[in-house]
């Protein structure tokens, strides 16, 4: 594993992988995270995942020398043999110009048809790297290159909750209304975050996501179900 360690202070350190978004790095991150949770659980308050980082908030104090020792231990971990078990979740999305206010702009920018944008976006398989930005916001890797689109110069004041959007090399769903600089291409009718549950989200880090195009009628139906707490998530 190609990892550096950075000590911010005696109770906050960060492990850093090369600066790329990749599934290989994600699997190494998961392996290292599990190692920490198993071996050092008592000394760790919280582990946060980034695309190429693991940030560790500690209960105990740690020196530069301890950091070097930990890095050594990590390098002695057995090489990853098998893939981590992951589920593939189906998430319904209504792609239309009503919810996807920027769909037509993307048609102009990329010089491809609206149908082609929807096909590309919904046929790809995405990987959940971590949650951040807003409660329940998934950072997804795997957006087809043809859909990479620079973020808007100035963010919109309010993207409605459920908006599915593209920003840079990423795609994601705004779980609640929020300002945002990404391009809206549709809306997702299901609740992605429920604070009343002990685990307020469904997909776990490392899981896969497929977007499933649905009509406006199905969108309304699922939305009602979801609001009454009757929607069941589907995975392969």
């Amino acid at each position: 594993m190609d990892i550096r360690i950075f000590r911010i202070h005696s109770k906050l350190i960060e492990l850093v992988w090369p600066q790329v978004i990749s599934i290989d790095i994600l699997q190494e991150q998961q392996q290292v995270k599990q190692f920490f949770e198993k071996e050092y659980a008592d000394g760790i308050r919280e582990i946060r995942v980034g695309f190429n980082t693991l940030s560790l908030k500690l209960r105990i104090e740690i020196t530069e020398e301890d950091c070097r020792d930990i890095l050594e231990e990590i390098h002695q971990l057995p090489t990853l043999i098998s893939d981590f078990a992951s589920k593939t979740w189906k998430i319904p999305v209504c792609y239309c110009t009503e919810y996807g206010k920027d769909l037509e702009k993307l048609v102009q920018i990329h010089k491809i048809s609206l149908e082609e944008i929807i096909r590309l976006h919904s046929e790809a398989t995405y990987t959940l790297h971590f949650y951040g930005f807003l409660p329940g916001f998934m950072y997804l890797g795997g957006l087809p290159e043809k859909l990479h689109t620079p973020r808007k110069n100035s963010p919109e004041r309010a993207m409605p909750g459920g908006t599915v959007a593209i920003g840079g090399k990423q795609t994601g769903i705004y779980p609640a209304e929020s300002p945002g600089g990404w391009h809206a291409i549709g809306n997702c009718p299901i609740r992605l975050f429920d604070i009343s549950k002990e685990v307020p989200v469904i997909p776990a880090i490392g899981d896969k996501i497929n977007f499933e195009p649905i009509s406006k009628e199905v969108f309304e139906e699922i939305k009602q179900f979801s609001h009454q707490g009757l929607y069941t998530w589907h995975h392969d």
Binding site: I8, L12, E46, T53, Y131, G132
Partner: protein
Amino acid sequence: MIKTPAYIHFVQPGLMTTVQDLGRFGMAGYGVPYSGVMDRFSMTQANFLLQNQFYDSVLEMGGPGAKMVFELATRVVFAGADADIYHNDKQVKAGKILDIIEDDVVHIRKFRKGQWLYMGIQGGFETEIVAESRSWYPGITPQFRIEKSDSICYLSEERFYPALGSHAKMNLNWFKHGEIKVFKGPEWEQLPKLLQNRIMKKSFTISTLVNRMAYQLVETIENEVEPILTAAVYPGTVQLTPNGNLIILMRDAQVTGGYPRILHVENNSLNILSQKRPGDKINFSI
């Protein structure tokens, strides 16, 4: 002792008035910010004076204007910003335990020094606990800001003996100095030496962009530091934007960010910083 649920009614909401405790931990992995009081030192003082638990929730106010009526007897105390506080039209000082009786009115007028004023109450507030915390945050707790004519619940407890140590002398100058202690952030070394020196020697001004999420500084630092892949950020993280703005993340900060994290503010300095107001000067020291 019999405790009776009672309400504080807000005739005027004041500015950025919320209920806060130490914060909501353990949910950052799902994208939920910590929240919690901006200034932990003052919250601790208020709870200590009332002989509360150190983690009991308090009322946090970010500016003048809050006017409240109490339904039943309790005790409250103020700490944090230096403000003009009136108990039934009589001016009172921070640190004095106020014996509140039915229909008493407390009115916060002018803020003289500091950014956040705390009102501790006997036993803390009885607002909803969400994911082990009472700290208000949009989308997480039912309320996220006191609005006009809102009410919040507390437990009234009759006490027939006078308050202990009823008037502590408060030092309201503890947040006066401008030195903010920092650690090097993960992207500090990507800055050229010249810029590093400038940042450490320069005096910075707090801008008007001041809220529970972040404080932005006025002076800019021209830089060509590459953006990073989204990574963890915390209250205290100092971000440098491509435009050269320095943004210090505060208690309601998002859990991840994509701007280079050049510095990290030490805990006690974060309390001091939180009490700075637009126009105040600070300087960083490693």
